[in-house]
Symmetry: C2
Amino acid sequence: MNAAPETWLAARERCHAQALAAVGQPVASLETPALVIDLDAMERNLQRMASFARAHGLRLRPHAKTHKSAELARQQMALGAVGVCVQKTDEALALAHAGVTDVYISNEVLAESKLARLAQAVRELPCRFALAVDSLLGIERLAAALAQARVEQAGAIDVFVEIDVGHGRCGASSPEEALLLAHQIQAHPTLRLAGLQAYHGGAQHLRTAHERDTALAASADAVRETMAQWQAAGLQVPLITGAGTGTLVREAGSGLWGELQAGSYLFMDADYAANEGDPGAPVFEHALFVKAQVISRGAHHAVCDAGHKSHAIDSGLPTVASPPGLQFANGGDEHGLLRAAAPEQLPALGDTVWLVPGHCDPTVNLHDFYVGVRGGLAQGVIERIIPIDARGAIR
Amino acid sequence: MNAAPETWLAARERCHAQALAAVGQPVASLETPALVIDLDAMERNLQRMASFARAHGLRLRPHAKTHKSAELARQQMALGAVGVCVQKTDEALALAHAGVTDVYISNEVLAESKLARLAQAVRELPCRFALAVDSLLGIERLAAALAQARVEQAGAIDVFVEIDVGHGRCGASSPEEALLLAHQIQAHPTLRLAGLQAYHGGAQHLRTAHERDTALAASADAVRETMAQWQAAGLQVPLITGAGTGTLVREAGSGLWGELQAGSYLFMDADYAANEGDPGAPVFEHALFVKAQVISRGAHHAVCDAGHKSHAIDSGLPTVASPPGLQFANGGDEHGLLRAAAPEQLPALGDTVWLVPGHCDPTVNLHDFYVGVRGGLAQGVIERIIPIDARGAIR
């Protein structure tokens, strides 16, 4: 063969074509490692979350940083979600270019070139955008980028003031600072003051319900103090947006939050499953799996072909969904070590192993597409290949 | 705008075009997070490694699981490397399709569909392939795949018997088992018995030189025992291949290994830098960085825009190369928390921060391309955009 060398994009396309060719085939034929959605389980999660938001009279704006997929965003919006959140400018643009019509970047953007790209998208794409801010510089640069792109429509973009509600990461650190930011947003006609971004990321993974209660009580206090300060200045807070899969019963029951941003409920990872449950919370199922294969066997261990390049381990190693009785140990970038109480329980060379990722979001970010399986992992059929449009969209 | 929704591949292409537009611009203009190669430092690392292998009269076959790039593989081969290693079938195919002419999959492949793809590549691509095996099943399936693809040339593919030299992962666990595998390879004319795969992954990251000495002494014993067994059966071992950046002086000085597989030397990560140095080992520099930007400031911390989706943390968090005096703390998927001894040392909103990844290989696997910078990180110019051809090629 003397064809010209293939480009990296052509390599991606070739692998995608390989995956598409498997549609309609039994899941048993699927090459490993593969990122698999149990579509039946995911759709039950989607319904449960939509019902929960509806029952509480709350807006649902799922976090697409979890799934990074326009197809899944549309599926969420078809069930009533008002739009989605993302964390990065290029994530927002990937989804908007792929047809999602309402995207909120729930994070700070300071780079002028990114804001220029966002402003151009505000002008040109059929999508409503929103952005979080926690600094005067962020507001000034956003307004300048819109002006530069000749966006002149009043309230062309929604702007949320992020306040720190306990995570200690981004967000205004006092009600006074938040008020100052609100006034500054109002000084720019192209910006619409949309409300408060109030999300406590760290609280999602506190193991006991009591710990989460304590953290969210403090978050609610921070929200109330900011609201009081704004009201004293004659300013209503239009909307408070936040909440994650680990805490959402609290935000939903607070009478404060009007919009829920949970994302992980779609897939549920091993880390969330380790949390003590909350009374009244919807019960979500594992719907995301890594299919792996045993490629080596020792007397007392098996080795499968999935390591850190197939699943993220920042929140712990994967658990083994099947076969039963296996422990997963760290085998490096490309391998997983499997151990069992007795060697006869170990899987054989070539056997399939199903893993539940420790943390869904960064695991999804390792893959170009999901393989959607209908009818269960054991006997199911590959129904569709779902592109992860915003994979690697970190800018 | 009413154009049809963009596909995920078009989104990748759009981001790539964005990156290409920056070539020739100062590094200061580069959007964050970005995966940056200091080309001057990398080229010094390349030269040092090539000299080391030459001085020891050893073949160098760098591990491309580190860089996953055809362009960098060719740069290594231009300096004398005989080819590269990879860990996965699709990694091998991505590099071979992109023009690399000698690729060794230093790992076990059991899936018949992957072996069929490899056999087709053996027949069609202008590339010499090799594969590691540690089971009779692996050998039988490889031979069957070649037959199925009508590959009939004698020794069409090189096959290495992997032996476990202390890591406890893949590899034959006894000299007898390794000999059995060697005989089975010889029973198939299309397979060429190429030698032993003897790599101790775990030893690379032992902190003290003494610990690594002890581990590699045991590895060398395992190699000698296998050689003795083969020789007693009238079989010479053609080549022993292995070694990594952390141990290579030992394999090079052993008189056993004939080929070095080090990969990380190209970039050097924070984890390798934490190893106690070895007398006689080439000194490699950090050449891979994540450029990040401060997007939020608190009274006692700054937040940058690089988290687990920009750098892998399986071997520890990144260190901060610049500005000096900063500690990086875990800020989640999209954020890094920066702390300093005194608040006035913290960077300001919008400032640039340069990170050294904890572990290069899985960090590279998060990105679609490198930004190659010439003339240093502070004042340099963006010289070239290097595609990471095999990113995500995990099958």
